[in-house]
Symmetry: C2
Subunit: 347 residues, 2 copies
């Protein structure tokens, strides 16, 4: 079958690989009908050493169940399913609390823990299928597929940022980052009732979509200038919550400057740093809180799907380009060059 | 009048200084009847450069109002009052939300922002007296004074750790540190209903008091060994909340090792570091949260005082030594040498 491999920075190839197949009794084999390229794929695309490659890519997909192991009970051959970007059993103590990314099952983990599998491919073996996969009550060619595909990662991740940040109708929110996750963090903050949502981003087409998703203000400036602009919009105090959807140290420092004393910085951009300021002069002195992490998107699918099915929310608008499996290398390039916000893949 | 000055590491002196007096219409002059030495005073006692001194010391006290400015309305001459370690107006937006340590009033701040005032003295000028001071419904020689004095800092600080950590009857808690704040964090976690409270400390007399305050387990080991011990006590998972009442990097790392995935590290020990690990390998990957800061103890006095007045709680047990104003240098020495847990000062 065909699958996507990254050989190093800027070097993505679609090649023939051994066919995926059911191996464990809890596995399902899924024939992929829609997948996409993630903003987080751009980190290795920008910096990966060839010595670390090649690696299989893709952790967001919808597909049709083609085969199941003997213990799989919740999905069957022919079902259309969506997979979260973390494999989980949905039954352990952490999953029951909604923290599927910390699932205690030995088979649980992120897709990159499975070196022979990936979502940017023709098919994929899904471990812990009962826990991981969620059936979709639509056809594979439904117009809702792009929106439903965002449940695999970017919508759930934006939503996690807002939930972990404690967004509600009493909070003012700043979202740092106008990528797909940032824009869907805006949509999520709006869904949770935030009264003011400031989107920090400088790409007009994206911030326009952000306004459509619910941003009340847009701040193109960054750094000190951006901090000043947000403070001006908030009576000098900053916002109760900052949803940090980038992951760089400048974004972290920007969040520190923008967050209101006693407020929360909720991070869902994968940190490209390990150490950061958290002492008296940064977090501690102002009783700031730090929250967030890899989103347990499985926990949010049941809550978010109805809004997509009934047309209330259209998170799929983050897809502004479509390609085929063989077009994936170009999709990476377009996203890295900021020509595309997020690329949908129809194998 | 007599007051305490720190000249440098290990060099505390009680000297004659100009009498404190009302200066602003919102000031009160308080004749101090009980004060104490704080664990946080030991940081400069261990490291302060003589070039930075001398500085006035003391931020925890009870006393009798002797004079008030023309605008003071809530306390009057003769009232016995307790002062939180932060000056606040108790009316600004932050105070109304319970974050008095971020009071927006220009006169607000910590005692060390007033170079000519301090609580380890015969008297003190209290700015924003209406907001800062709280009347005590007892006599200055009441047996409850030690417990009421803890409302100025250590009890409120331990309580803030537990509140900021989200402690409730469903949480397991670890407290790092067997100083006064750590022990009162135990008492606070107990008050909030925590089912398991692990106290990490190695001073038997202190951990015995911790057990009396509600600790269900005591772990004398530190570092990796201590982390392992707590994990063994919690089915391998760690505790939902870690109350970090020390402030050193080893204590932070210990907290990281002990906290359950998805849990909270709530810090009230003043961080002796500015940068700390918060990336994928520490906080982010496990959706850990970081909370805490200087405690807005003013916000907790109304809730905690009744439990002291009716004898339900005796936080004053953290005082294991008493001295006079002139005995304060010895009090610092005894606390630094760990001969005393916390020294009460009766001028």
């Amino acid at each position: 079958m065909r699958a996507t491999l990254m050989y190093g920075a800027g070097d993505v190839r679609v090649e023939n690989v051994p066919d995926s197949a059911v191996e464990q009794p809890t596995d399902a084999l899924v024939r992929i009908t829609a997948s996409c390229v993630c903003g987080s794929d751009l980190w290795p695309y920008g910096s990966m050493s060839p010595a670390d490659g090649p690696v299989r890519m893709g952790h967001e997909f919808i597909g049709v169940v083609e085969d199941t192991g003997s213990e799989v009970t919740t999905v069957k051959r022919g079902d259309l399913v969506v997979a979260p970007f973390a494999i989980s059993d949905n039954t352990c103590a952490f999953c029951r609390e909604g923290l599927h990314t910390s699932c205690a099952n030995p088979q649980a983990g992120f897709w990159d823990t499975l070196p022979e599998e990936g979502g940017q491919a023709e098919a994929v073996r899904v471990p812990l299928a009962d826990g991981t996969l969620v059936r979709l009550p639509v056809a594979a060619d439904s117009a809702l597929i792009p929106s439903l595909l965002t449940l695999s990662d970017v919508f759930g991740t934006g939503y996690h940022a807002a939930v972990a940040g404690g967004v509600d109708e009493r909070t003012r929110v700043t979202v740092i980052g106008d990528g797909a996750v940032g824009l869907l963090a805006v949509l999520s903050a709006r869904r949770l009732g935030a009264e003011q949502i400031v989107l920090m981003g400088r790409h007009r087409a994206r911030t326009d979509l952000g306004r459509e998703f619910g941003a009340t203000d847009v701040v193109p400036a960054r750094g000190e200038e951006g901090v000043e602009a947000v403070r001006e919009l908030t009576g000098g105090e900053g916002t109760h919550v900052v949803l940090e959807a980038v992951g760089t140290m400048p974004a972290y420092r920007q969040a520190l400057g923008i967050v209101r004393s006693g407020g929360v910085i909720s991070r869902v951009g994968v940190p490209q740093y390990e150490e950061a300021p958290v002492g008296f002069g940064s977090l501690f002195g102002r009783n700031l809180r730090l929250a967030g992490g890899p989103a347990p998107v499985r926990a949010y699918i049941d809550a978010l799907m109805p809004d997509i099915l009934d047309g209330t929310l259209e998170p799929g608008k983050v897809f502004d380009a479509t390609t085929t499996l063989d077009g994936i290398p170009g999709g990476y390039r377009d996203m890295a060059d900021r020509k595309a916000l997020k690329v949908l893949v129809r194998p």
